[in-house]
Amino acid sequence: MIYICLPQSRDLLAAPNAKEYSFEIHFSEHHFTPQKLVVPSEQPLLLTVVNSSRERIEFESFKLNREKVVGPEETITLHLPPLHAGSYDFFDDFHQDVAEGVILAK
């Protein structure tokens, strides 16, 4: 008899990442804070996006190939690979009038 065991959480299957540096971006009053987030280059990152507003946003980064809907009062997390030194855009794809932000890896 073959038993197939499904894991309850990603932690059971995922290889543990090297130490992830955690950072937060907040969205409230129709803008991101901070607008410029400085992170260490060549290190895996855990980015938390907190939407404190009553608006639904789509947190998106073209250069990082990330796109995720964040509802009002919701929080999401994104795992990012080690980034080469440089700048990486992020924006709210639902609201073109929200100023773009930048993640600066150095």
């Binding site: 894991p7 959480s9 990603r10 932690d11 299957l13 995922a14 290889a15 990442n17 895996p44 639904r56 789509e58 073209f62 250069k63 190939n65 990330r66 796109e67 995720k68 809907v69 509802g71 919701e74 999401i76 997390t77 994104l78 795992h79 990012l80 690979p81 080469h84 794809d93 639902f94």
Partner: protein
């Protein structure tokens, strides 16, 4: 007395017999020259897409190249409409309407598909991002296919390396009804390398192919393999495009196919709450 049409009629009968005896393999889907990434339609978002391909240099008889039915591929415009919806943060559902206009003819119904697609875990959790795809297809026979109903399963693999996204979709198809239903799995692939240059214009290379039945691959010259240099990006109002020309690499392939895909995403309302960050399937 020999009737002057007899040799031609005999030829037609032989060609038809060959079609019936040797089911065509359909792993290259001319209604969908699209490589699927790991990411799915975001939760609560609806995506309307039209995929188009025009065979500008193809085969002159049915059952060859991308034409699996009795109509020839030369001059065929394949025109698909797809509506997909993000059910959860990791699963989307979609329905398709496939139309086609044979060379010199009008658009007509060619088939329908329904499918579910998902991604496992969160991006960058595993060394390679993994997704899945399951589709049920109905075809208009015998004009556009020799199989009435098929099931298609694909694993989806993606790896981002700097500004490059490398995507691979091996395809496994099983005929459920119609010619070939008693045979095994057919094998094909969609794959692509996309470079993220600017949001409005980025280049890529895409590859599509079909090799035949897994347990009885076609001779290499009869298999279909295509390479498509493409450009992709975002137009005003959130309209996204992917345009390219594909070149057949074998005798069994059509010679040149032009593709043009357009898609538009809008938030229409979520049915489910946000997926758990510690989850891996839903």
């Amino acid at each position: 007395m020999n009737h002057p049409l007899q040799p031609r009629m005999l030829g037609n009968v032989l060609a038809l017999s060959a079609l019936i005896a040797l089911p065509c393999v359909a792993q290259v889907d001319p209604w969908e020259f699209e490589v699927y990434p790991y990411s799915t339609t975001p939760r609560g978002m609806a995506e309307f897409e039209t995929d188009n391909s025009l065979v500008t240099s193809g085969h002159s008889v049915g059952g060859e190249g991308t034409a699996v039915g009795t109509l020839r591929s030369q001059g065929m415009w394949n025109n698909a409409y797809e509506f997909s919806y993000g059910l959860t943060d990791r699963i989307e559902g979609a329905i398709y309407l496939n139309m086609a206009a044979p060379d010199g003819g009008g658009l007509r119904w060619a088939g329908d598909n329904i499918r579910l697609r998902g991604r496992l875990f969160d991006q960058e959790t595993l060394p390679v991002d993994i997704g899945w795809y399951a589709e049920l297809e109905w075809h208009k026979t015998p004009q556009f296919d020799d199989a009435m109903r098929e099931l298609e399963i694909r694993p989806i693999l993606e790896k981002d390396v700097g500004p490059f996204s490398i995507m691979v979709n091996p395809k496994f198809e099983k005929v459920l009804a119609g010619v070939g239903h008693n045979q095994g799995l057919e094998f094909g692939y969609d794959a692509g390398i996309h470079y993220r240059w600017t949001r409005t214009l980025s280049p890529g290379l895409e590859f599509y192919g079909g090799a035949g039945l897994l347990d009885q691959l076609e001779p290499s010259g009869e298999q279909q393999h295509y390479v498509f240099p493409v450009v992709w990006g975002e137009l005003p109002h959130g309209l996204e495009y992917n345009f390219g020309a594909g070149y057949g690499l074998t005798h069994g392939s059509d010679h040149v196919i032009v593709k043009f895909n357009l898609e538009l995403e809008r938030f229409v309302g979520a049915l489910f709450k946000a997926s758990s960050a510690s989850g891996w399937f839903f």
